[in-house]
Amino acid sequence: MTTATVTVTIHEAPDVIQPRQHGKPGGLLRYCNFVTALILGIVLAALAYWITGMFTTGEALNANFVPIGINVQITAMYVGWVVGFMIGIGAFVGPIRWFLGRDLTHADAEYLAGRGQGRMKFWKYTTDHKIVGIQYLIVSMALLGFGGLLAMLIRTELGVTWAELFNPNFYNSIIGTHGIVMIIAMIVVVSGPLGNFIVPIMVGARDMAFPRLNALSIWLLVAAIPPLASNLALGGLRDGWTVYQPLADQAPVGMIGYQITIITFGFSTAIASVNLMTTIVKMRAKGMTWSRVPIFVYGIFASSLMGLIWFPMYQYSQWFALSDRVINTSFYVPAQGGSVWLYENLFWLLGHPEVYVIVLPGVAALLELMVVFLRKPLFSYKFAVAGIFGIVGLSAVVWVHHMYMTGWAPSSNYPFMLSTEMISIPISFLVLVMLGTMWRARPWTRLPMMAVYAVVWNKVIGGITGVFLSDVPVDQYMHGSMFVVAHFHYMLMGAGLFSAMAAIAYWFPKMTGRYLDNRWGSIGFWVAFGGFQLTFLSMFAAGLQGMPRRVLQFDSLFNVSNWISTIGAYIIGIGMLIFLAAVINSWRSGEIAPANPYGAKTLEAQVPTPVPPENFAVLPVITSDPYGYGSPDPYELEDEARRAALEGGEPAKVGAS
C-alpha cells in the first residue's frame, strides 16, 4: 500500500480547549483494577446470594418442577458477580461522569490509555486498542487452554475403553463445557487480539472508534468466564453446548452459569462488533476506498456484522430460558403453551452464522498474509470480497439444517438443504482465491505461509463432509454421530484455530516486537496438525460405523477408532504445548523484529515497532491497493518471453523469469 505525505494536522492537547480537570487524571479509575474487580465481584455475589436467600424458599416449584428458591439465589449470585466485577474494574465510571457532565480531559484520556503505567495497564480498564488486543490475546489463550484441557479429559475417557474414568454426569459436563468454552474462545481468538491490535492501524486510525467501549468489551468477556467455569461445581452442564430444551430446564443450577455467561458475552460481542465496524467504516485513512481495504479488514467486518445481527437471538434464547427457571414463564414448557422448537430456532439463528463468525476472520487473515509470503497480488480480490459477503448473506438462511431430525417443519428441510449446499459456493470462492494466489508462486516458507496449506487441506475436508451433512437423507443417518463432531472440528478447529495460529504468528512481531520462533512454532504447528488428522479422520470412521456423540459408554466395535483418536488428541496437545512454549519463549527473549519483518505493504507494517501510542505520527493517505506485489507479474513476463520465443522459432528457456 503506497502512502503519501501528511495531509491532516494532529491537534495536540494544548491546542484544544480542555474541560475542567477533576482531581488527578483518571479520577476514580486510578483506584480500579483487576483486584478491586475480583473483590467487589465476590462480595456482591455473596451479598446477592445471602439477601435473596432470605426472601425465597427452597420448596416452591416452577412449571418444570424446578425449585425456584435456589434458582433465584444462584441467578442473583451470578448477576451480583458480573455487576460487582464491572463496578470494580471501573466500567460504570464513564457513564456516571458523562451524566454529571465531567467530560474527560486529554490528561484523563492519556491515563485511560495506559500511558506511563507500566505493566499495570494490562490489569486495568485501559482503552488503548493495542493494550486491549494483548488482553484479548491472553484471555483467548487462557480459554483455549481450559477448553483444550477439557478436550484431553474427554479423549482420555473415550480412550480408556476398558474402564470408566469419570461418571456420566461429570463426563457430560466436561463435554458441554468444552464445547461452549471453545466456541467463545474461537469467536474471540482472531477478532479480539488482531481485530483490536491490528485493524485500527491497518485502516489508518489512531485508535478504535470507541476506546472506552473497547475496554468494556474485554472486561465483560472476563466477567463472563467464571459463571461458566463454575458450572462444574454446581451440578454441571450435561446437555452439550447447545443446551437444548427441555434438558436445560431439567438441568442442575450449573445451567444458570451458562445462561449468565451467554447473556454477558452477548453484550461483550455486540459492543466489540459495533466498535470494529464503526472504526472500519468511519476511520479509514484518506484514500482507502472500499476497493483498497485489506481483505483481513473485510473478514473482521463481516464477522462483526454477523455477530451484531445474530448474537442477540442467542442471547434472548438464554434470557427466556433463565426466566422460565426464575420467574416461572413458559417459553419452552409445552404443558403451558411453550415450545422447545422455539428454543432451537432462536439458538440456531445464531448457531450457524457463528461458524462463519469464527472461520471468516481466520481465513481472511490467511488471504492477507499469503500475498506477503508469495509476493503476488491477491488473486481476484473482488471474488474474495464477494465470497465473504456471500457467506454473510447465506448464513442467515441455513439454520434449519441443524433441525432436520427434530421433526420441526419437515417440509422446510429441502429448501434449507438447498440453501446450505449453496453456501459452499461462496466458501469455495475463498478457497479458489487461495489456490489462485498460490498458482505458480514461489512461497517464502515461513510458518504463517505453511499454515495456509494446512488450512486449505482442513477446509476442503470440512467443507466436503459439510456438503454431505447438509443433505437431508445423509443427515438422517449421520445426525448426532461422531461424523458430525469430526466435521465441525475440521471447520472450527482445522480451519479456524489453525488460521488463528498462523495469523498470530504473522502479526506476532508487530504485537511484541519479536519474531515468533519459526523453528519451534513450526514444529508445534505441524505436530498439532498431524495429531489433528489422526484424531478426526479416525472420528469420521467411528461416525461412519455408527458411534453416537456425547456418550460415555459405547460398543467395543468403536474401540480402535477411539484409541486412534485419543492418541491423536494427545499429539495435538503436545503440539499445542510446543507452540505455546514457542510463544512464551519468543515473547520473552525472541529475536528482535524490524518494523516490517516480512515486507508487507499494509499500513500496520509501515509503523514502527513498538507501535507509538497514537499509531501514526501523521495520518497517512492511501494512493494504491495493498497488494501491489510483483507487478508486472514475472510469470506473465515469462509467458510473453515464451510466446515471443515460439513465434520467433527459438526454444523457450525453462525457468526464465
Partner: protein
C-alpha cells in the same frame, strides 16, 4: 472544517467528526437491539400460531388491557419528539429549548417507566399462566428496562445542558438520544401491535400434551 467548530478535548478532532462516528455506532447498536427485540416478536407470533397444548391464552381468557401498551408507546414517542425539539433548538443556540425538551423527555420517560411497572403489577395473569402471559410479561419487562436506561440518558442530557456541555456547536449527544428514543418507541410499538392484533390463537386444534404432574 468550520473555523469555529470546537475540537474534541481527548482526540483533537472536530466534534462533527466524532459526532458522525457516534451516530453510526448508535445505529449499529440499534440494529443489534432490534434483532434482539425481533426474538420477542418471533416468540410471540410463533407461540400464538401454535397454541401448544391449548395453553396460549391466559386462564379465563383474561387478556391484558390494551390501552396501557399504547399509552406507554405514545409517551415514548412524545419523549423522543421533545428531545428532538430541544436538540433542534439547541442547534440554533436556544439553550432554554434544550433544557425544556430534555426535561420534558425525562419526565415522560419516568412516567412511562412508572406506567410500565404499574401495568406489570396489574396484569390479570402471572408469568406462568400460559404462553401469552409469558411473552407479554417479557414485552413489558424489556420495555421497562429500556425505558429506565433511556431516562438515564435523557436526564443526562438535561444535566449536561445545565453544566454547559451541550452547546450550539456541540449538541450531537442530544441528537443521538433523540435517535435512540425513536427506536425505544419502536420496541414499544412492536409490543403494542402484537398484543392488539394477535390475541386469540388461530390454531383451535392444537396438540394436547397433557398436564405433567409430579408423581
Amino acid at each position: 472544517m468550520s473555523v469555529t467548530e470546537p475540537l474534541s478535548p481527548t482526540t483533537g478532532e472536530p466534534v462533527s467528526v466524532v459526532a458522525s462516528r457516534n451516530r453510526l455506532g448508535v445505529w449499529f447498536i440499534i440494529i443489534s437491539c432490534t434483532t434482539g427485540s425481533l426474538s420477542l416478536l418471533i416468540s410471540y407470533s410463533y407461540l400464538w400460531s401454535l397454541n401448544v397444548n391449548s395453553a396460549w391464552a391466559p386462564p379465563n381468557n383474561a387478556w391484558a388491557t390494551l390501552w396501557p401498551f399504547w399509552a406507554i408507546f405514545v409517551g415514548e414517542i412524545l419523549a423522543g419528539l421533545a428531545m428532538r425539539w430541544g436538540w433542534k433548538g439547541m442547534e440554533k443556540g436556544d439553550r432554554g429549548r434544550m433544557l425544556a425538551g430534555s426535561l420534558i423527555s425525562s419526565l415522560l420517560l419516568i412516567a412511562a417507566f412508572v406506567g410500565q411497572v404499574a401495568q406489570i403489577m396489574t396484569f390479570p395473569f402471572g408469568p406462568s399462566d400460559g404462553a401469552y402471559a409469558s411473552v407479554t410479561f417479557w414485552f413489558a419487562l424489556s420495555n421497562a428496562g429500556w425505558v429506565l436506561l433511556s431516562s438515564f440518558l435523557a436526564f443526562g442530557i438535561f444535566n449536561r445542558t445545565l453544566a454547559g456541555k451541550i452547546t450550539a456547536t456541540n449538541a450531537s449527544h442530544a441528537g443521538l438520544v433523540a435517535m435512540w428514543l425513536v427506536w425505544l418507541a419502536g420496541v414499544a410499538f412492536i409490543g403494542a401491535i402484537c398484543t392488539t392484533t394477535m390475541q386469540e390463537s388461530p390454531n383451535t386444534n392444537s396438540p394436547d400434551f397433557g398436564n405433567f404432574q409430579e408423581p
